[in-house]
Each structure stands twice: as structure tokens, then as C-alpha cells.
Symmetry: C2
Subunit: 132 residues, 2 copies
């Protein structure tokens, strides 16, 4: 399925801008990135785009499940092209995230989900720091 079809299937009009972003993000290589990172990639690819459009687009892509947003205590939103359930290493010093595939973690015992709620995904974060 090409990117135009992916956008259509997600219910999004394949505009020029969304195609530019899809071509960058949906190339099968997983990455963690900010809106500014993406704008730099867009610029490097010889295109340009308003930051408002980039935010609009990332929000749409996220809400359609084409990308994810990572939980982060940094003040800049971090997005993730790996939409499979997976986990992360986090170097808190640098903010660097490294993917951990789902089958590399095994949760043996899980607490009971609170009354009236459903489990909607489990994420493991392993904080790491550089060895001295």
C-alpha cells in the first residue's frame, strides 16, 4: 500500500503537505522525533512547510494511529513512527530513546485493573545512564 492509499484509508485527504510528511515518516524506518526535527527533515528534502501545518498533520496522524506520541517529561512533544506496542530505554541525560520490541519484555505479574476500567496498553520504560 502506498502512502496515498494509507492516508485515504486513515480518512485523511492526501494533500501535498501530508504526502511530504508521509514520505518522510512512513518509510518503514522507526524513529523518535519532535515537530522541529521533522521541519528540519522537510527543509532538507527541499520542501518547506508552516510549523502550524506540521503540528496539524502530526495531530491528525496521531489520532489516526499512523504515528504515536511518547510519554515524556521533556517540554517538547516526542513522536514515534513505531506504532506496534513496544517499550523504551530512556537516557534521561540526553533524552535519547531506544526501542525495545514487545517480545523482549515479559510481564509475569500485573496488578488488577481498577474497577470500571479496561487495560489499554502496557508500556515499560527502562531508564538508563552512561556508565562512569
Amino acid at each position: 500500500m502506498n502512502n496515498k492509499e494509507k492516508l485515504r484509508k486513515a480518512g485523511l485527504r492526501p494533500t501535498k503537505q501530508r504526502m511530504i510528511i508521509a514520505d518522510i515518516l512512513l518509510d518503514g524506518i522507526n524513529r523518535h522525533f519532535t515537530a522541529e526535527n521533522l521541519q528540519n527533515e522537510i527543509n532538507s528534502s527541499g520542501n518547506s512547510m508552516s510549523i502550524a501545518t506540521i503540528y496539524n498533520c502530526l495531530k491528525k496522524f496521531r489520532n489516526c494511529g499512523l504515528i504515536k506520541q511518547v510519554e515524556s517529561s521533556k517540554d517538547t512533544a516526542i513522536f514515534d513512527t513505531n506504532i506496534n506496542q513496544h517499550h523504551h530505554f530512556l537516557d534521561e541525560e540526553t533524552g535519547e530513546l531506544i526501542d525495545i520490541e514487545n517480545d523482549e519484555v515479559n510481564l509475569h505479574k500485573l496488578p488488577k485493573i481498577p474497577q470500571g476500567y479496561l487495560n489499554n496498553g502496557v508500556e515499560v520504560l527502562i531508564k538508563i545512564k552512561k556508565q562512569v
Copy 2:
């Protein structure tokens, strides 16, 4: 150990403002809160404090390990008085966090820590959503 001693031990001068905050946060009851939540509690206690001081203080407390900051994709920082290693349920709709004690989770299989790094803490986040 009283709060004045706790601050001294953490290397912080026990100023009037830090004592007011310590009296609210270090009462043994665990909570998740924002800077604004804390300012409201300070006001309710008959005191008042500049928001800059509240941020200064929260940063110092966090860096000293008296409180933690939670990983969150919301744009407002969320702090946690539970400084033990523990986990969370997160209702993504409301942002509500519920503590999971460390012994309620058992990680059977963990990936190898990347070369040159040390494990610096594991956090499990269980996203939950209200049952329909």
C-alpha cells in the same frame, strides 16, 4: 526526622517558602500534582508564594530526590511525592494517575541494557480507559 532536618540533609536551606512546601508535600500522603495544584494548596493553607519560587523549589526538591517528576505527554509537568520505585495506571482521557506498588508487578524477562549503560530504574505504565 522533621522537615527542617530533611531539607538540611538534602543540602537545601530551610527557608520559609521551602518549609511551607515541605509541610504540604512531605506529610506521608502520596500525590501527583502540578505547580498550579501546589500553588492552590499553598493559598488554601493561608500562605502565598510566587509561581517562580514554586518552580524553583520543585526543581530543587526533584534534583535532591525529595520528589519525582512523572513522564507525561501532557504539556504541564506532573510531580509525584512517592519517591519509591513504583508504577502507574494512566487514564489518558483525564490524565489521572494511580500508583501501582512495585511488588504488584513482576518483570520476568528484561532486555539487555545497551553497551556502556547502566539500568537506572524500570517504570511500567498501564494505560486504562473507562469501560463503555
